[in-house]
Amino acid sequence: MAILEVENVHTYYGNIHALKGISLTVNEGENVTLIGANGAGKSTLLKTISGLLHPKQGMIRLAGEDLAAYQAHEIVGKGVVQAPEGRRVFGRLTVSENLEMGAYTRVDRSGIADGIEHVFTLFPRLKERHNQVAGTLSGGEQQMLAIGRALMARPRVLLLDEPSMGLAPILVQSIFETIVQLHAAGTTILLVEQNARMALQIADRGYVLQTGQIILSDTAGNLRQNEMVQKAYLGMA
């Protein structure tokens, strides 16, 4: 069943027509990836879904409900949660405080405590550093925190924007393993990546975005075999 539906969405950045009629769906429990080059509009799409940008045209629905009337902070409460590009943890807050902020929409105290424990089992490094301010963490640890923070809101759909950006290959590997683990545990994921190779290995389905339009959509397996994708995004001749 489709949980997130994006239908013919047009978004402008000032005068720039950044998204030109995007449609995509994410089904419950699916791991869908959105690949594309720099500037294709991937982050713009996630910002539009999260309500930081408002589409000029088109509709975004969560489990059938139109999200147009809601502001960014209300959409989080509905269950669409994003770990933004570039991690953007709160550098002057401690690791624990960052996680508490992730749970801002929740009021169940014991549930929040369980959530923090869950994040710490997922990322033991964060537990060691729970009292440290986030600005002093390494890039990999900050990415773990950004994902952990998003999980704290108990997302119905988790939006991940370039989680591998700027990380050493070994860390990229471990972040992707975490995503596989989350998906296996039933989390619905929309993963935006420039690292198409890795993304298509772990996703169920994929969309290819180019200059604001979806030019291809298929199962991840088929996309890996697609000649155009191989040439443009997987670096094969």
Partner: protein, 353 residues
């Protein structure tokens, strides 16, 4: 050796000479003043206690500047008028309570009512200001809200002048707060100063606890770091901004009553100098930094009260106390030259890394 010398610019050398000679004057002046023996320990402790009381009021106002700056990166130049409007409105309550004798019979309740009215008025003014004058301009270039703030400041001053006239109104006496305590003939502290220092200290402690420990306080810190991401965590950024204005204004309203009780008068222009001084204190401590504003306020208050006589009296300057503002702002310039981020401010480059 020559190369190393060439790298030092003339301006740097000039600034160091200026800084060095000012420190020299201060040292010579201080030694001369102390050796002259004109002032006893009793005098110095009076100056110091007055400075702490004055500085506590500066600190309370400075917090309003620093909180708003931390969230919006904007200087709310109308904050001095937020302070004034609370103190001025509360004057009418204080006056009525005093005339009816209530303030004499039941000073605790009476003062609480005066504080409540002042804080509520300041909060109302600040919230309206935010909604009408600042929020529509949030995406405008930075200079625009700054000019609006200055405009709002004049608007408030002349509105109060229009309604209540341009004269001074004298704040009523509170009988319990008259008189002072003396210890060993050396330290004497007025009751009103005790009230000012204790009340300011409690308010600052409450603010610090709120910002550090509560969920709403943490959300404030999150918004001050990154508004978009705060929204992505489900934090209602507009509500947090309003809340910041409310807290800053409540502190200013309380400061207004303390100030009026200390100096026993209100006036439509009374917000201007304390406002500028508190802004100075906030910059001094490192704008955006909460402990910095507290420290900057106290430091400025003490410096203003002790500094002129200590530094200048021994040099034979007549009526040095008249120069307190000149001294305070000289210090601001010096601190900004040698430590642009203020006492507790972090270096921007490091904060971003």
């Amino acid at each position: 050796m020559r190369r190393a010398l060439e790298r030092i610019s003339l301006i740097d050398v000039f600034m160091w000479i200026v800084g060095g000679s000012i420190i020299g004057i201060v040292l010579v002046g201080s030694v001369a003043t102390i050796r002259s023996g004109q002032y006893s320990i009793r005098h110095w402790s009076d100056f110091l206690i007055f400075g702490v009381a004055q500085g506590s009021v500066y600190a309370l106002i400075a917090l309003g500047y620093t909180l708003v700056y931390g969230i919006l990166r904007m200087i709310n130049f109308a904050h001095g008028e937020v302070f004034m409007s609370g103190a001025y409105t509360a004057f009418f309550v204080a006056d009525a309570l005093s005339k009816s004798g209530f303030l004499g019979q039941n000073p605790l309740l009476g003062l609480l009512a005066v504080f409540a009215v002042s804080m509520a008025t300041s909060v109302t003014v600040a919230v309206i200001l935010e909604r009408v004058a600042y929020r529509p301009l949030r995406r405008a270039p930075r200079l625009v809200p700054l000019i609006t703030a200055i405009g709002a400041s004049f608007f408030l001053q002349y509105t109060f002048r229009g309604f209540y006239g341009s004269g001074f109104k004298s704040y009523p006496e509170v009988p319990v707060l008259q008189g002072s305590w003396v210890w060993g003939g050396i330290v004497s502290i007025q009751r009103i100063q005790v009230l000012v220092i204790v009340a300011a200290g409690l308010l600052m402690l409450a603010l610090y606890t709120y910002v550090q420990r509560t969920r709403a306080g943490k959300a404030m810190r999150a918004v001050s770091e990154d508004k978009d991401v705060a929204a992505l965590m489900g934090i209602n950024v507009d509500a947090v901004i309003v809340q910041t204005f409310i807290i800053g204004a409540a502190l200013a309203g309380a400061a207004g009553v303390l100030y009026a009780l200390m100096f026993r008068q209100v006036h439509f222009f009374m917000g201007f100098f304390p406002g500028i001084k508190a802004f100075t204190a906030a910059v001094l401590g490192g704008i955006g930094n909460i402990p910095g504003a507290m420290l900057g306020g106290l430091f400025l208050g003490i410096f203003e009260s002790v500094g002129p006589i200590l530094f200048l009296d021994g040099l034979g300057v007549p009526a040095p106390y008249q120069l307190k503002d000149a001294i305070a702002f000289t210090m601001l310039v010096l601190i900004l030259i040698f430590r642009p981020t203020g006492i507790l401010g972090e270096r921007l480059a490091r904060a971003k890394a």
